[in-house]
């Protein structure tokens, strides 16, 4: 007991020592490219903001295959980078291995959970954000039909789709939701032509709002919405500015904050390990309102605020696809 108290005392003291310490932060990006206008780029923006605020350079690496991930994280740790942000669920295994080898280095993984004493796991409650934009789509739809275009057909994207469907059905239980995935390979994240075609086919079937959770493929979806005079909903970053007038909103996922907060906390000595789940209440996910879509969403704001409050108060229960690997609710 005494030892534990001593440990506690030390750990309370530690932050003040670390406060003045210089940090050398690093990021290992998700497979794909850093400038994807969505996930990786969000993290990169967070890093850029951190560098601007603190003048501390962030070391970066873009791996091109699975085995480079572990190699890069290990190399960063060996060179004394701390904290190290590991981007994307595909890095969980690699980080699990490396985090054990470097118990004194702090790691943060985004979008997955690694259960180690020196890892902070940041996950997002995408189902909440998707629920919101689903509700918004249902409110804005005049035909009672809406669409969803996913990127690669993986569980994470089905989680988006599932939340979206629930949100839409919450507002209008008879609404029809068309769902299409762009493809089954990684190329599905960057195929705007096919995204546009899928959106058009959904418009032809009567949809008048379409939500794209498809990385770079979304660009084609938003363009198709503009060309056909329908609404589109962006994802991850605020994409409202892409086509003001036809962008209904964007479901935002603040991955930039996840990176920024990790660096900042490490600098201030307040970094902690453990699971950080960012939902609506923590402003980790949400729907974007700015000067580009203010007028369009004005009539729905009140209703949306009520739904948001209900989600935060846990009055609306949203099923998470990942829990059961199915969308039954």
């Amino acid at each position: 007991m005494k030892r534990r108290l001593l440990g506690l005392a030390i750990s309370l003291l530690l932050p003040t020592w670390a406060y003045s310490a210089e940090i050398s932060p690093a990021i290992v990006y998700d497979l794909g490219t850093k400038f994807d206008k969505s996930f990786n780029e969000g993290v990169s923006n967070g890093a850029k903001r951190f560098t601007e605020d603190t003048k501390v350079e962030v070391r970066e690496f873009e791996p091109s295959n699975d085995s480079q991930i572990e190699q890069a994280i290990r190399k960063m740790a060996k060179r004394g980078s701390d904290p190290i942000v590991s981007v994307g669920f595909s890095q969980a295994n690699a980080l699990g291995v490396v985090a054990k080898e470097f118990p004194d280095t702090s790691f943060t993984i985004i979008d997955s959970v690694v259960d180690q004493p020196n890892v902070r796991s940041v996950t997002f409650r995408e189902e909440q954000g998707s629920f919101l934009v689903g509700a918004l789509a249902a409110l804005a739809s005049k035909t009672g039909k809406i669409g969803f275009v996913g990127g690669q057909d993986i569980a994470l994207i089905r989680k988006f789709a599932c939340g979206y469907e629930q949100g839409a059905k919450y507002v209008n239980k008879d609404i029809e939701v068309f769902q299409n995935m762009t493809g089954s390979t990684g190329a599905a994240w960057n195929n705007p032509t096919k995204g546009g075609e899928l959106a058009k086919s959904q418009f032809d079937r009567g949809a008048d709002v379409v939500f794209a959770a498809a990385g770079g493929t979304g660009i084609g979806v938003y363009q198709a919405a503009k060309d056909n005079g329908k609404y589109a909903i962006g994802v991850d970053s605020n994409q409202n500015h892409l086509h003001p007038g036809t962008m209904l909103s964007s479901m935002i996922k603040r991955v930039d904050n996840a990176a920024y907060d990790t660096f900042k906390a490490k600098m201030d000595g307040t970094w902690t390990s453990g699971i950080v789940s960012l939902g609506l209440a923590e402003k980790g996910v949400g729907w974007a309102v700015d000067e580009h879509n203010e007028k369009i969403v004005e009539p729905f704001k009140e209703k949306m605020a009520a739904i948001e409050a209900d989600i935060i108060a846990d009055k609306i229960k949203i099923h998470d696809y990942m829990k059961t690997n199915s969308c039954e609710y």
């Binding site: 497979l31 070391r59 970066e60 690496f61 873009e62 791996p63 091109s64 295959n65 699975d66 085995s67 480079q68 190699q71 890069a72 190399k75 669920f89 595909s90 969980a92 295994n93 979008d111 997955s112 690669q152 057909d153 993986i154 569980a155 994470l156 089905r158 493809g183 089954s184 390979t185 990684g186 990942m322 829990k323 059961t324 690997n325």
Partner: protein
């Protein structure tokens, strides 16, 4: 020096080296344009690939993959077929490895499961290649088209299986559960440790030995057996082969089966050796790079080993380069690869007239 020896040297060593140097020269130009010192970059690449045990480990681990896919392309090429399906064959091979590793491990000891899963990897890869092979031989559809299409089908199938069948509930990653702890190949450092030699930890594992064994096997098959003779005859001239009493259709299917099996072994290195579970996209372009490896290696096992080593070093050295010099993106490796393929594939004989003339002059002077 005899004229025929000179010709041999020309085609086996002088031309490939010149082509390679040209590719490096243009890479250096591109680096200069992007304001990077090419000498410094080369230093980082070489140092990264061969400067440490860890570097060697990664280089040879990539080399293992490239040997498998290079052989897969080469063996089909000897039968006159262009196997572009290494990517899909490797992927489906992974399915075989995983099914056996996960399915049989509760019932059988690891010492039996591991060889069985290696065989399953080869069989699944072969089966995947057999369909385009059959279609080419008996239905006249072009192997280039069908193997490319089968890459896409493989990718779709594997994503479907990973997302719907293998996925662990509650896990974000589209990956199967991990293989039991004893179902894995010896890592190289464990293997060397057995002999009392210290080696840094890296993904390199004993499938490198399997790859080298395959090289010997392919060489023996092609140049020392009847099947090999038949494969080479069909590749040289299918019509003549018929007159020699060889059925080219059977040989085409056979060559594709062997090629697919070799490509399928990539999954042994990747899954049994490194990842210890089935992951999405573990084939990461090795199948395509195998085409370049075979091309550079003149479809000969020795050449393929050398070309695979070069590509392994490029992969590992390139990663190191991107790590050390942040303004060189990892895409530079792809540029270098592209240049190598351009000069040693498409413009293979660019220097031939010139070098041949010089060589002849020298041979005559010697005689």
């Amino acid at each position: 020096m005899k004229a025929s020896t000179a010709e041999r040297w020309l085609s086996l060593f002088i031309l490939p080296s010149l082509n390679l140097l040209t590719a490096f020269f243009f890479t250096a130009l591109i680096l200069l344009i992007t304001n990077v010192n090419p000498i410094e970059a080369a230093h980082y690449m070489i140092q990264g690939a061969f400067g440490s045990q860890e570097g060697w480990g990664y280089t040879l681990y990539y080399t293992t993959n490239f040997i498998f896919t290079g052989l897969a392309v080469a063996i089909a090429f000897h039968a006159g077929l262009f196997n572009i399906g290494g990517e899909g064959q490797a992927y489906i091979g992974g399915l075989g490895v995983t099914l056996v590793a996960l399915g049989l491990s509760p019932y059988l000891p690891a010492l039996i499961v591991i060889p069985l899963s290696i065989i399953a990897g080869a069989l699944f890869g072969a089966a995947w290649a057999a369909i385009p092979g059959y279609l080419q031989a008996y239905r006249d559809s072009h192997i280039v088209i069908t193997t490319i299409m089968f890459n896409f089908i493989a990718a779709s199938l594997m994503v479907y299986l990973l997302v719907n069948v293998f996925a662990v509930p509650g896990e974000m990653t589209p990956a199967s559960r991990s293989f039991p702890d004893d179902i894995k190949l010896w890592q190289w450092h464990e293997f060397m440790g057995f002999f009392g030699v210290d080696f840094d930890s890296s993904p390199l594992n004993i499938s490198l030995l399997l790859a080298l064994l395959c090289c010997y096997g392919v060489w023996f098959l092609l140049w020392k057996t009847r099947w090999g003779y038949e494969i080479r005859t069909v590749g040289a001239n299918p019509d003549a082969a018929i007159y020699a009493g060889i059925n080219p259709r059977k040989i085409w299917v056979l060559a594709m089966l062997l090629g697919g099996a070799l490509a399928g072994l990539v999954s042994v290195n990747e899954l049994l050796g490194v990842q210890h579970r089935l992951v999405l996209g573990f084939n990461a372009g090795y199948g395509f790079a195998g085409i370049a490896v075979a091309l550079m290696g003149r479809n000969h096992p020795i050449g393929i080993i050398l070309a695979a080593l070069l590509f392994g070093a490029l992969y590992q050295g390139g990663a190191e380069l991107a790590f050390e010099m942040p303004n060189v993106t990892r895409d530079m490796v792809i540029v270098i690869q592209g240049l190598i393929i351009l000069f040693s594939g498409a413009m293979e004989f660019m220097y031939q007239p010139l070098v041949r003339r010089l060589l002849w002059r020298w041979v005559r002077a010697g005689a």
